[in-house]
């Protein structure tokens, strides 16, 4: 039997299962890019207006570090600058989810065993997953230029930008194919692929903020950086597209070799035996929640430290980031180098707050997967009350979020202080600035917890949608000049801008009260409803 037998049947099954998810991803990514182009065109119809915007954006140095250097003033270059790399990472994220969902996740749950017992070849599932992800990226590469050209942007620039975005998607399609062979669980496979994605983002951020004499070549190592280096709306460097294609082909080949060598259901990492007796402390729902979540949390904390260190270190080069000395003079007049650095670090912290909120939501939603996968039953039937079971995971979610934020601030402080030599005061100040994001992140955890108790079927989709709305408000709010009442929906709007801003306790207290009230509502609902 051919190793590819049954691929087309599996691919059709995968397409059928993804019929909602794929269009949603493609829509969101296209809307992000096209919406940005639309709003730039509408808000800044003239070159003079865009020149002004560029100067205004330059007043917020965080944007430059987050998005890379700004190379021109056309609507196209502004769009590519603002969301080119992010859309590329978004395409990567989409690809990771697709590939893992149709390979390791199906294998872990045993669904693939049933399908695989039919006339299905050994490489069929992997190939089918890759096919779906490649198709999704190809659709993306077609839809984005269609939208941009419809908005009146140059064809060459639109097509090259879209191809660069899809190229990044292809790279992470193959990265996920490899992690799905190595890791034994879908969770670990996704985590490993997303770590590579985060590393790509950080490489680009370090490379872009390195300045003239720094390691600018790091951007060349990042698939997200390629979307920037192609210079879509300037002198297009088409040959850059060979980089993602070559990388994707090479890594996908490696995945194929790995897939051919391993057993069904097994990973490449060996299975270690566990203890024959439970440790003395493992005796309650909270202890179990810690035992279940500690590995994931450790990964998050290490990632947050690395993120903080990289972006904190970059804060030292903020002055050099702004190409024009004219702009720098204006900025120095506005508050000097210190104000500049503070504004950058404050933006970094609110970004870190969003990342921590992502952890908080996923940690709360662990309760739902424990419930639907029927692992809550034996616990609840053995004498754990519903409230103590839920509180165990909620405590880990809250404590873990605090740890991640402290690690972000600590990393930023260390990264900044080691280079600038400002000492320990800076470290403590930034750790505090990180923790100031905690109440806002907990509000999102609270939303997930409330849905878990009151509308359990909607809680996974609802929890992530709430986070998505908050992310969009932070990213698009300024660009789209949204009215304040809409911006106020996001809890992060109310967090004081630290470091540098004035600390007022009132909003932090209010956010904490809201988070606790939401969680309490969720627990009250959980007490009344059916489990399962």
């Amino acid at each position: 039997m051919s190793t590819l037998a049954g691929t087309s049947a599996l691919a059709r099954l995968a397409a059928r299962r993804d019929r909602i998810m794929l269009p949603a991803w493609i829509y969101v990514l296209t809307a992000l890019v096209a919406g940005t182009a639309y709003s730039f065109r509408k808000l800044y119809p003239t070159a003079a207006g865009r020149e002004q915007f560029a100067a205004a954006a330059a007043r917020n140095p965080a944007l430059l570090s987050l998005y890379g250097p700004l190379s021109g003033n056309s609507v196209g270059s502004l769009t590519a600058w603002r969301y080119g790399a992010f859309a590329a990472l978004g395409a990567g994220l989409m690809s990771v989810f697709i590939v893992v969902r149709h390979t390791r996740a199906d294998e872990e749950t045993g669904r693939l065993e049933l399908a695989g017992s039919a006339a299905v070849g050994r490489q069929a599932a992997l190939t089918a997953g890759l096919l779906i992800a490649v198709s999704a990226n190809m659709v993306l590469a077609a839809v984005i230029p269609a939208a941009l050209i419809a908005l009146g942007l140059p064809a060459a620039g639109s097509i090259s930008l879209a191809l660069a975005i899809a190229g990044c998607g292809l790279v992470f399609t193959s990265v996920a194919a490899v992690t799905a062979q190595i890791a034994q669980t879908a969770r670990a496979a996704r985590g490993a692929a997303i770590s590579v994605l985060a590393a790509a983002y950080l490489l680009r951020a370090v490379g872009d903020s390195a300045g003239a004499h720094g390691p600018g070549w790091l951007t060349w190592l990042s698939p997200a950086g390629w979307a920037e280096l192609i210079r879509s709306f300037g002198q297009v460097r088409w040959w850059i597209l060979a980089l993602p294609l070559a990388a994707a082909a090479f890594v996908a080949g490696a995945a194929g070799v790995l897939a051919a060598r391993r057993d069904y259901g097994a990973g490449l990492l060996p299975q270690r035996p566990g203890p024959a007796r439970a440790a003395g402390w493992l005796r309650g729902p909270l202890a179990l929640a810690w035992r279940l979540q500690r590995g994931t949390l450790t990964g998050w904390v290490i990632g947050a430290l690395a993120y903080g260190a990289v972006v904190g270190e970059a804060a030292n080069g903020i002055g050099g980031l702004l190409g024009s000395s004219e702009i720098r003079k204006i900025l120095v007049r506005l508050g000097g180098q210190a104000a500049l650095t503070n504004a950058y670090l404050a933006a970094i912290m609110s970004f870190g707050g969003l990342i921590a909120a992502g952890y908080a939501v996923s940690a709360v939603l662990r309760l739902r997967s424990e419930e639907t996968e029927e692992r809550a039953d034996p616990l609840l039937a053995a004498g754990a009350s519903r409230i103590s079971w839920a509180l165990g995971h909620l405590c880990i979610a809250a404590g873990g979020t605090a740890l991640i934020l402290a690690a972000t601030g600590l990393g930023a402080g260390l990264g900044y202080a080691l280079r600038s030599g400002t000492g320990g005061g800076e470290v403590a100040r930034l750790a505090g600035a990180g923790l100031a994001q905690l109440p806002a992140a907990l509000v999102l955890a609270g939303v997930a917890a409330a849905l878990l108790g009151l509308a359990p079927r909607a809680c996974v989709a609802g929890g992530w949608t709430a986070l998505g709305v908050v992310v969009m408000l932070l990213f698009l709010g300024a660009t789209l000049r949204l009215p304040q009442p809409i911006l106020d929906i996001s809890p992060f709007t109310h967090v004081p801008k630290l470091p540098g801003g004035t600390v007022s306790a009132a909003p932090l207290v209010w956010l904490t009260v809201i988070a606790v009230a939401l969680a309490a509502g969720g627990l009250a609902g959980l007490k009344r409803r059916d489990i399962g």
Binding site: P275, A276, A382, G383, A384
Partner: protein
């Protein structure tokens, strides 16, 4: 002594779908009670209501003298539950799960734990993701049996066990009975039910159709009779309670209701009997007769018994 489980008129509906429709179940303290019914008849739903995981839509349920919904955690320290489809935390070892569940119940007999692990031949150091279905079942069984509890709720506990392990399980349940523990055993394995259970309750489509001792239930069904007579029989078809009568010359075969055996035998001996065999109904026949006949005008009720999506 009060009943360990007293359920009457229990109802559970999910929107318009009715899972339980006036179910009755009583389990006396100290007995091993079989809980039988076709797939989707509501056994697992009933057990989940008894565990306080689901809230009943109507009727009453008492468990160990308490209310299973409002007193759940307190009652759970006095019982142990083995689900039909055991799912465990994939990165915990079997030993860790056994200990964790035992500690939650508040009681675990360490020497019994060790002997059960040996009896069921389980490797407690393996991570749960590496266990087969049968081994996951053993983890749940060992944890339940090693706990010092009054009541065991077992939902198809041997569905994944090999015959050797099933024999070990039977021996354990016999031990539990001697210790005076109460067991509610949901099972499709009829020989297991016959070997272990004092009484059984049969449900179908969310309702109790029969409840009693196995001997009592047998009396409700027919005995097969085959006889060779010395002359041609007469008048057998006019006897009440005689079914499927076949007469071939001097040979007679028929089914007879439990209450009419005496009348039939008188009729046969009046002619003269050369040989006679009688077969009591097998358990299979007993259950099939209860499982198969669907009352008119009622579709199958959805439930969660074993056949999960």
């Amino acid at each position: 002594m009060a009943d360990a489980i007293a359920v009457s008129g229990l109802r559970k509906s999910y929107g318009r779908a009715v899972a339980l429709d006036g179910l009755n179940l009583s389990v006396a303290t100290g007995e091993v009670h079989g809980f039988l019914g076709p797939n989707g008849s509501g056994k697992t739903t009933t057990i989940r209501i008894l565990l306080g995981l689901l809230r009943a839509s109507g009727g009453s349920a008492r468990l160990l003298g308490g209310d299973p919904w409002s007193e759940a955690p307190a009652l759970h320290r006095r019982l142990a539950y083995v689900p039909g489809d055991v799912t465990l935390w994939p990165n915990l070892s079997g030993g860790e799960v056994i200990d964790l569940l035992g500690r939650l119940r508040g009681s675990m007999d360490a020497s019994r734990r060790a002997s059960l692990i040996e009896l069921f031949d389980l490797d407690p150091t393996k991570k749960a993701r590496a266990y087969s279905k049968g081994n996951r079942q053993k983890v749940a069984l060992i944890s339940a049996l090693a706990s010092d509890v009054e009541l065991l709720l077992l939902d198809e506990p041997t569905a994944g066990l090999d015959p050797l392990m099933e024999a070990a399980f039977r021996a354990c349940i016999q031990d539990e009975r001697k210790r005076g523990r109460t067991v509610l055993l949901s099972s499709h394995i009829l020989s297991e039910v016959e070997a272990l259970c004092d009484r059984v309750t049969i449900i179908r489509q969310g309702r109790t159709v029969e409840s009693g001792t196995l001997a009592g239930l047998r009396h409700l069904t027919r005995t097969s009779i085959a006889a060779e007579l010395t002359g041609p029989p007469a008048g057998l078809d006019r006897l009440p309670g005689v079914h499927d009568l076949v007469v071939e010359g001097n040979r007679v075969r028929c089914q007879v209701d439990a209450g009419q055996i005496d009348a039939l035998l008188r009729q046969l001996t009046a002619v003269g009997v050369r040989s006679l065999t009688s077969q009591p109904p097998t358990l299979e026949e007993l259950f099939l007769s209860h499982y198969a006949s669907v009352p008119p005008g009622r579709g199958p009720a959805p439930g969660r018994d074993g056949d999960k999506a």
